[in-house]
Each structure stands twice: as C-alpha cells, then as structure tokens.
Symmetry: C2
Subunit: 140 residues, 2 copies
C-alpha cells in the first residue's frame, strides 16, 4: 500500500525557465538534473516537503511515455503527467492489482536505473497516469 | 515560499468508484467528503503521507474552475487538475509573484471556507494549474 507520494512528473515546454520559476518564485529545492537520452527527454528533480517534483522536457521523445509528455506540451504547454506513489512491497502490490483486474502497463515490476517501478494504465484511475515505486527508488 | 504539497486536485468521472480504488487498491486513507453545491462539484479528500488527494467529480459544474474539471473528464475521463502548494506567508508570496509579473488568477489572497488561497494562471507554470494555500488551510 502507498506510504507517500514519491514524485510528480510534470511536462514542461522550457525546462530551464521552469526550473528557475519553481526554484525562485515557489521556493522548491533543486536536487539534480537528469538526461534520458534514449527516451529523448531531459529533466530536473526538485523537492518540496517529502515529495519530489520531476520537471520533464521532451526534446526528441521516443516511446509511448515520452510521446505522451510531448502531446501534453503540444496541447497546453505541459501539465502534470503522472503521479508516482511509493510502496513498501512493489512486487506484492503489482500482483494484488493484477489479480483484482486493475489495468496495468507493467504486469511485473520493471527494473529502472534507480530501482523498481511499475506503471498502471491511465484508465485504472479515471485518466490519471500512476507509477508505483519501490521504497528507496531514486530518480536517475 | 512553498513548504510542502498541500494537496493534488484530481478530476474523476465516478467519485464513488475512485474513492474505492484509491482506498482499497492503493491504500490511501479517507479523510472526508465534500459537496460544493454552488460549484456543482462533489469531492472526497484522502491522505497519503503528508499530502491530501482531492478527488473531484463535476456533477453540474458552474464557474471556470469547475468547467475546467469537466473538460478534463470529457477529454480523458479525468486526470490531475491542479497542484496546491502550502506557503507560510500567502499574502507576501502573492505580492512578490505579482511584482515579478507572474500571471495570477487572484491578485490577492481569496478567503475560502477553509482558509486563504490564491490561484496562479496555468501559463505561469507552463500549463500546470497551481493553487497556493496559507499554512493551516483545510479543504471543506
């Protein structure tokens, strides 16, 4: 079961401008920058309270997740793209959701660079794209 | 400056079904239900970690915020509608943002039932709708 919001993934049109805005105008703390070259994305991770905010600019998006970020930027200059929840037992959670018939993009936990994650389909949560992260997951 | 995410406002098509999903499948804790009859909205507030999750169903939306929730439901069954940040000094924050030329929906803090809030325009944050809440704000 989810213990906290791990991060929000937010699509932006101009990463540098939005890093400045979130830092200087809203007071979020810069954590790191990330370049996912294989996905054609660049990102910055900031922090507010216990939650990370991942600002993502699609530069030359490849793959379904990257392309959905680009659609959001083209439609309205960006917006909240996904909600990532941290769970203590990702494998058990995914198995329980699968058994309950919840529509999943990942039928099993997926190994990402910073730890294990699993994506639900948007229709599972009425249009909200949800990512589950094993506790200890680091965005990198 | 923002100290934490106060809440996420999430548009949903079927509030009862999504309350069940977020509680039973994801483990969020139910806090309260809310009916904003004058806006034609019904909502439920859940909690995960330090953040509230406000699930909102537009029943008969009236006004620009309520209508933007309905557009999200019609377009894709819902999704994250706004990001609410808690600040210690709302009046000072709004004044600083206004002076910096950040596009605001509220030029001054607005008194809501549960405390003081102010909305930024979506274009301020590249398509993400941001609400600022004075510390101590309660959704009601």
């Amino acid at each position: 079961m989810a213990t906290k919001i791990h991060h929000l993934g937010i699509a932006v049109k101009d990463l540098d401008a939005m890093v400045t805005f979130y830092q200087q105008q809203l007071g979020l703390e810069m954590v790191q920058t990330v370049a996912w070259e294989e996905l054609g994305l660049k990102a910055a991770v900031l922090k507010v309270g216990e939650v990370l905010v991942e600002l993502i600019e699609p530069v030359a998006p490849k793959g379904s997740v990257a392309e959905s970020l680009e659609r959001l930027v083209k439609a309205q200059d960006g917006g909240v793209h996904h909600l990532a929840l941290e769970v203590d037992d990702l494998a058990g959670t995914v198995e329980r959701l699968r058994t309950a018939g919840v529509p999943l993009l990942d039928q099993e936990p997926r190994q990402a660079a910073g730890g294990q994650i699993a994506w639900l389909q948007e229709e599972a949560a009425s249009g909200t794209l949800i990512e589950l992260c094993q506790a200890g997951y680091r965005i990198m």
